[in-house]
């Protein structure tokens, strides 16, 4: 049915819908960032394979570190939530007025805080190695 309708009548957001994050909770923004960092990592990996370990230097390496560590930290959060259901909460029997969803604003927020801390710690360690240790080792 969608093929018969014109573009405006279909009213599909398309790829811009993936990045429409204004007005929604922070987890929506993290989803968009997870997608972007995943694509950027794939774009890094291809030259890394095909030209025997090509690696960017210094600040570009630190940026790569931020991208990879974010994807890892958020990925850990998503694995715990989706595979094991840790932090997802239980369905409610009684709902209060203006109840906020348990899966977002319950224990999941603790998991979110932990994953952000993991991200910051790992990013700092990677940047330390990239900017200070690696040049001393010979690049």
């Amino acid at each position: 049915m969608s093929e018969e309708l014109e573009y405006y009548a279909q009213n599909r957001r398309g790829v811009s819908g993936w990045f429409k994050v204004r007005g929604y909770v922070i987890e929506r923004k993290l989803y968009a960032l997870h997608r972007i960092t995943g694509i950027l990592i794939v774009l890094f990996i291809l030259p890394h394979f095909y030209s025997t370990g090509w690696h960017p230097g210094l600040w570009w390496d630190a940026l790569l570190g931020v991208i990879v560590t974010f994807h890892v930290a958020n990925g850990l959060r998503l694995t715990l939530l989706e595979l094991f259901g840790i932090g997802i909460g239980r369905p409610l029997l009684v709902k209060k007025p203006f109840q906020r969803p348990v899966s977002i604003e319950g224990k999941q927020r603790y998991l979110l805080a932990i994953s952000i801390i993991i991200f910051i710690v790992l990013a700092i360690i990677w940047s330390y190695y990239a900017i200070l240790v690696k040049p001393l080792m010979g690049g």
Partner: protein
């Protein structure tokens, strides 16, 4: 009984307090080449809902404005639309609650085909809901046809799925989902959380029938926990939770764990009623 000057009368809620500009998306796919916008200025009070405002616009200013509404009390789910870029039921959203700088922008729900102006086509949405078989499936067909009693269910078993029964099928969650924006085959948070609601209902025995639908290329695994569905749901159904629990249930069923035994029948007088 004299009213104190400090205590407000409840009628103060309906005293006009100012005007608000409402910018409405106008598009008739049969006539217009491209969508446009039309702005209306309307006097509002603290208690005026967006639905009240639209009805007044339709009565007094522009009778051609098309939009859906029914109950006016957040029970039917007909009036969901985009208000300042976020999905809401307009019958229970006050104008002054969402007006930014005295302006409101109304659009039809994202990712739904438009019939006209603010009214969308829900056919595909309902087809996906039907695809997950949203009814109790049992192997004992004889009992379903000629019941001898009620199905036994404890309050704890009821609590496992009650939250998801409040769904109005308003379409807000489906519209907010980023996967739906590109993937028109994706079942959507509403259908998937209703699939979970029925699978986990102890009266139901239809896991095998539904697993083929939800464990597919465009089933629950296309959810990436963006949580916008739960964020915008007007009945706090929390479909994101339903989908993650569904994923866990599917993986457990792969390891051989069934969600529950089908509920047994408690014989009661229902079987004694003879129909003439």
């Amino acid at each position: 009984m004299e009213s104190s000057s400090v205590m407000e009368s409840s009628m103060d809620l309906w005293k006009p307090v100012g005007t608000v500009k409402i910018r409405v998306y106008k598009y008739n796919p049969r006539k217009d080449f491209a969508p446009g916008w039309k702005e209306y200025e309307i006097e509002v009070s603290r208690g005026t809902t967006i639905l009240d405002a639209l009805l007044r616009i339709k009565e007094e200013t522009d009778p051609s404005l098309a939009f859906r509404y029914s109950c006016g009390q957040a029970l039917c789910g007909s009036c969901a639309m985009m208000v300042n870029g976020r999905q809401m039921l307009i019958c229970r959203t006050r104008v002054l609650e969402v007006a930014k700088g005295g302006k409101i922008e109304l659009r039809p729900l994202d990712n739904f085909p438009i019939i006209r102006d603010l009214a969308c086509d829900f056919k595909s949405f309902f087809d996906k809901h039907r695809a997950v078989k949203p009814w109790i499936i049992r192997k004992d067909v004889e009992e379903l046809e000629n019941p001898t009693g009620d199905y036994k269910q404890t309050i704890e078993e009821y609590a496992r799925y009650y939250q998801f029964t409040d769904c109005l099928k308003c379409g807000a969650c489906y519209s907010a989902c980023p996967t739906v924006a590109t993937d028109h085959e994706y079942l959507g948070p509403q259908a998937l959380s209703q699939a979970y609601r029925y699978i986990v209902d102890t009266r139901d025995d239809g896991l095998e029938e539904r697993i083929a639908v939800v464990d597919s290329d465009h089933g629950c695994w296309r959810c990436h926990f963006a949580t916008s569905c739960s964020d915008v749901c007007p009945k706090y159904v929390d479909p994101a939770q339903g989908i993650q629990l569904l994923k866990k249930l599917i993986l457990r069923s792969k390891l051989g764990f069934k969600p529950h035994k089908p509920a047994e029948v408690l014989p009661s007088k229902i079987g004694e009623v003879k129909r003439g």
